[in-house]
Amino acid sequence: MTANSGRLKVVLPILATVAIVAPLAWLWQASRVPSMYSVMDMGYLDYGVGAGAGTSGGGHGGHMQGSMPDHDSVSQRLVTDMVADPARPTDVRVDLVTRQQMLTVGGRSIAGFSVNGASPGPEIRARQGQLIEVHLRNESVADGVALHWHGLDVPNAMDGVAGVTQDAVPLGSEFTYRFVADQAGTYWYHSHQVSNPQVAGGLLGSLVVTPRSGIAQPVEVSAIAHTYSGLRTINGKTEDLRVPAQPGQRVRVRVTNTDNGPMKIWSGGSYRLLAVDGTEVHRPTEVSGRSVTLTAGARADLEVTVPDGGPAVRVQLSKATAVVVGALGGDAPVPPQPAAELDLLNYGSPAPLGFDPVHPTRRFEYRIGRRPGFVKGRPGVWWSINGRLFPQVPMYVVREGDVVAMHIANHSGEVHPMHLHGHHVVVLARNGVAATGSPWWVDSLNVLAGETYDIAFVANNPGIWMDHCHNLKHAAQGMVAHLMYEGFDTPYRIAGTADNQPE
């Protein structure tokens, strides 16, 4: 009896310790990723719910989840097949050279990246419908480079995601991107290889596609907002961006937020929000006393009018930087930050969407959470997608032509700028309240903590696409899912010999 209880006294603490340590060790082991893998092997297939889902992946209706089948046996097409018409002549040719170098920002020397010797790189401009050909040469970026055309729905092979649509371009190598700029609007390009440090370090630039009919404003300017090591800049300069314009002239200010968090924009006078993420707002009205929230990666085109009675009008890009439009040397007092925000849910007037989102063929959920666990073998409190941690993330499966509805819910306690590659999505509702204004098309959506969004899109750009948080730190922490079209595969691998690290 005494011997037994003595033995028990020794064994019980050991058992209790094992009961704690063993599950932790198992979770740690399960979170590790191989030294080389395909995004096709990550996580689980999610066919969603709906009529389209019923005919997919074996003909079962309802919500299906499962591990990836042997994709070699079911795939017919590769991401590399999806290119612009090779016979079509180039309209706009651009040569870009990327370098890893010291940048001078606000008088300070900062380690970063350049495109053609500067950060931001050169602005690429094209007219709607023109074919753009970009020759990229990586001169000195040690980790390699891949260029993503943020917001342009390019063919999949041109999307510039290392390890998904191409291999990272190593030192001294080249890559050619070709795509038709079908969508007019304000876009930008940035590296999607080791994107968190490379974008923060300035490997980016502006891309503007003007409509065939031109724009109504006689003056336009691009303002790339970027923070270099804590220094707030517009177009790489810490001082205000001054735009000469005559009294009474209308000016289009194309603002791009290249940082990792949302930014407020407001003006001293009234303004019209002409476009969101490249898409024109239908019948935008004059706004005053309200700010526009521009999430990470998003763009907004504002129209301001130089006042007749004053020298200039200020467009604040946060409290820190501004675009000053008006007579040279003229300025205006810094307008106080408005407490109210412009709500895009009811801004502008309704217009046809071009598809019926009420009867989607597939419905998906993208629930964002945060919980303790391991990601890539590291303990922490990590972002979860539909309750699971990276790499157990969903692979949303669609079929070409599907009308896809997605419910996004953010219960993670922090804001997430959600970015779907290759598609524009329309906001149907926020927190259950239906959109009543102009169709609100986005490629980068600001999802605040506690918010839900119902969005929809047409699956009309086949391939394999990232669907991730554009706070690139969060993406690097595993907040990355993918959207794939049935029958697609990629020959590229994450990590591996090309050392592809898209985040």
Binding site: L12, A225, T227, G230, R232, S318, K319, P379, E414
Partner: protein, 156 residues
Amino acid sequence: MRTAYKALAYLVAAEVAVQAMVMVWAIAGLGKWVDGGGVFDKSVIESQATPFPEVAGIIVHGINGTFVVPGIALVLLIVSFFTKVRGAIKWAVLVFVLVVAQGQIGFLGHEFPLAGALHGLNALALFGVALYAARRLRAATAVRVEQPEARTATPV
């Protein structure tokens, strides 16, 4: 094991003090930065830069709260199984529960700032419990040291 238990429990209490100190240090630095015209918003927070030196306080608080303190509390819990002192496990469990709750309440504060007030209050509870866990074990150890002496005094 008893020494380890005591040391770990004291360490939890010390860490709570450190957590409080670095946050107030960071907030004071933030106040000074804003007072000088600095802008501290999401772009700056997420830019991996140190706009003012005291921002290190926020980073230390995050690393401590996410990794170090839960790690210490977990080791304390495991060590408590081997101390063979009545109540040691109970108090180690309580420390561990308060640490887990503290983390959850802290993250909840990102969405509901009022939870931040509870985070501050729970810190005091954790500090008190950790300190008590260490001190009661010291008392238990002292008693245990006295007992063998009493036994040797007993005639054979």
